[in-house]
Symmetry: C2
Subunit: 410 residues, 2 copies
């Protein structure tokens, strides 16, 4: 395995370098000694505020209800594009530059879900501004602000936890190696996938500890527990669990939405917001995460490998039951047998797809996603009024993201 050997060498030499130069590590982790990107950012902010692209209202009759419906549209991404670049560069210098093998890992996963690219950091930076109480004089003020740096750190930690969980989820059993599932770790080996994930978790822990806020540490530690719980729930082969919608939604919260919910809440906690506001932030993240995953589940049945950038029907192929199947089960009780067999044969899988497509499964999944997106919008609308244009723009952007999540096709 020459590739593995090479990766081990890289990983080792880079990690060693990081471990033996604490000052460099600390600069990376604590964000002291602002990287040149921050200085570049300062120079570019005047242009970045003016280049918001006006998005068409793509939502038509599906548009969600909210008090911000008729405000000017802005592209959520462009609102924080430059700051995201800062966060992404810092992440790279915290992780990737030190451990090139992790660059491969990150690359691999970011390619799989295009929406996933910087999605979590984007939401968290928008949330940071959406909850601002003292208006910044300009984005330059904002980005050098100590609180803002801490909130950016949450975005970085969240992304590290996310990638670590993907790496560990992807570790294969001996048994699974026979099933020919393509995964990162068939490229790099189980051992390296575990180590790379552990390394990210360790870095995330150190960065988290450096924030020196015990409530925030508690929120994100809880997420780690939820991620494991969700993964274990997904491994279940109990028929009563696999066919149960509540079980599925709980699993989805643990595996997908908890990270978003708790990191949104962490942004509020760092900002010194009252519990009620922190709860709205949590609710936004929770419902956005659930909506996102439900749409993902539907796309697994309606998308093609080309549009998705990953294999279609991959859930089914791995024996994983998702919302479309659970809705279809209500119309086709014979789905039950296929679920219990974990769609083992090609015939099973073909039958399952047919039932899903003949049922209202896909439509109902989208409806449920829309309900959660609406609840995410409601959470933003429940925030205390704030006259600042910046704050309003970012709240609007968070609402737009809820729309985009349910209307995306990839």
């Amino acid at each position: 395995m020459p590739m593995e050997r090479a990766l081990v060498r890289l990983l080792r030499s880079q990690v060693l370098r990081a471990a033996s130069s604490p000052s460099r590590l600390q600069r990376g982790v604590l964000g002291r000694g602002l990287p040149s990107q921050v200085r570049e950012y300062a120079a570019s902010t005047s242009s970045s505020v003016s280049h918001f692209s006006a998005l068409d209202n793509r939502f038509g009759k599906d548009g969600l209800e909210g008090t911000h419906r008729h405000q000017e549209k802005v592209d959520p991404f462009s609102l924080v594009a430059d700051e995201l670049q800062v966060v992404a560069n810092r992440l790279r210098s915290m992780v990737t530059a030190e451990v090139p093998v992790l660059a491969l890992a990150a690359e691999y996963f970011f390619k799989m879900g295009v929406e996933g690219k910087r999605f979590r950091p984007m939401v968290l930076l928008l949330m940071s501004t959406a909850l601002m109480t003292t208006p910044a004089h300009g984005l330059q003020d904002l980005i050098f602000d100590d609180l803002r740096l801490r909130q950016q750190r949450i975005a970085e930690i969240t992304e590290m936890i996310h990638v670590a969980s993907l790496l560990h989820d992807d570790v294969l059993d001996h048994a699974d190696t026979r099933r020919g599932i393509s995964s990162l770790n068939s490229m790099m080996g189980n051992k390296l996938a575990v180590l790379a994930g552990d390394f990210l978790l360790a870095r995330a822990s150190v960065a988290l500890a450096s924030l020196r806020n015990t409530e925030v540490v508690e929120l994100l530690s809880k997420v780690l527990e939820h991620l494991v719980t969700g993964e274990i729930m997904q491994l279940s082969s109990e028929p009563k669990d696999m066919s149960n919608m509540d079980y599925y939604m709980q699993k989805t919260f643990y595996k997908t939405a908890s990270l978003m919910a708790n990191s949104c809440k962490a942004i509020a906690v760092l900002g010194g917001q009252p519990e009620e506001v922190a709860l709205h932030a949590f609710d936004y993240g929770r419902h956005l995460g659930l909506a996102y995953q439900l749409v993902d589940d539907a796309l697994d049945y309606t998308g093609t490998t080309k549009t998705l950038g990953k294999p279609a029907l991959s859930d089914l192929g791995q024996g994983i039951v998702t919302a479309p199947v659970l809705f279809a089960l209500k119309e086709f009780p014979e789905m039950s047998k296929l679920i219990q067999r974990k769609f083992k044969t090609a015939t099973d899988r073909n039958q399952a797809v047919e039932m899903v497509k003949e049922s209202r499964g896909i439509a109902q999944t989208h409806e449920l996603a829309a309900e959660h997106a609406q609840k995410a919008v409601d959470a933003i609308d429940s925030l205390p009024p704030n006259p600042s244009l910046q704050v309003q723009q970012c709240r609007r952007a968070l609402i737009d993201i809820a729309h985009q999540v349910i209307t995306r096709s990839k």
Copy 2:
């Protein structure tokens, strides 16, 4: 794989139970609602203080220098035996009782190294008393003391991190599955080993966060990073690294001693000790950990499968270079080739063992271990004088442990 399926079922049902009843979880993690063992402990303390067994001075001419040399000997373990039971029971209820599959995992590893059984918690509880500034009125006071509960929590967290690292270290590559290395994960599958490890790490993080001490969180987060770094260093196949004693000692610090060093320091930090005292605690843990590992390395060559409770020559079998080989290399330069080949063939291994045994490798490893044990003793002797009998007994016990570590034969 019917066993794996059963384990998944157990793991899932138990983790779910834990996740769905936060109050129960919290009781476990935060130690509220003291378990019955604590109450039993209170009833038993009067006997436990009197049943210290008087150990013979086994060290003879090898005895280490120290100001406590001529005090009455006590068995270190018996000094904290009952409290260890409390810690062990709480650990079980935090982890094992919730997730039976982890019981198997823990069992497996504790059997491998007999000294490993509760070794870390024992040291940490003794350190807690050794650093006490306000003398307790009796052990009953002590065990219900809030500070003491927090220090016990460090012992629990340390043990969880330790077992998690063993689980993850043991994950096999595809390549390795062909080498037939016996490991926990060949019993339970890579996926479960990763999940069980992640679960322990997540529990440890939550418990750590609940201590609400940012410095302690930082100390133990750092350990996670060191564990990964050490593991990556061990995977190296660069000849210059594999043959280098400094590299080996650095790796050993990261993989073994950092956890002991930083958790000892955490005990001091929780106790509100000045930085200087915290550093002595760190040094004790560091040197004890290094001495322990060096002796382990020697025993791999001198012990038998029967006395060790694990296969002899297991390092060599896995291509891992340890101190006896590095010392032997100085006398037998031809060892170099074998190291680079990672002792691939039976002939390689036989030759390596012969060279180690013909060289002063084993003796020099023991000498180096004794040096580190002496430094551990020095660290205890450097603590501020304290007239309390309890404190003195525990300091003496820590010194005795340093002796035992270098004279053990299993």
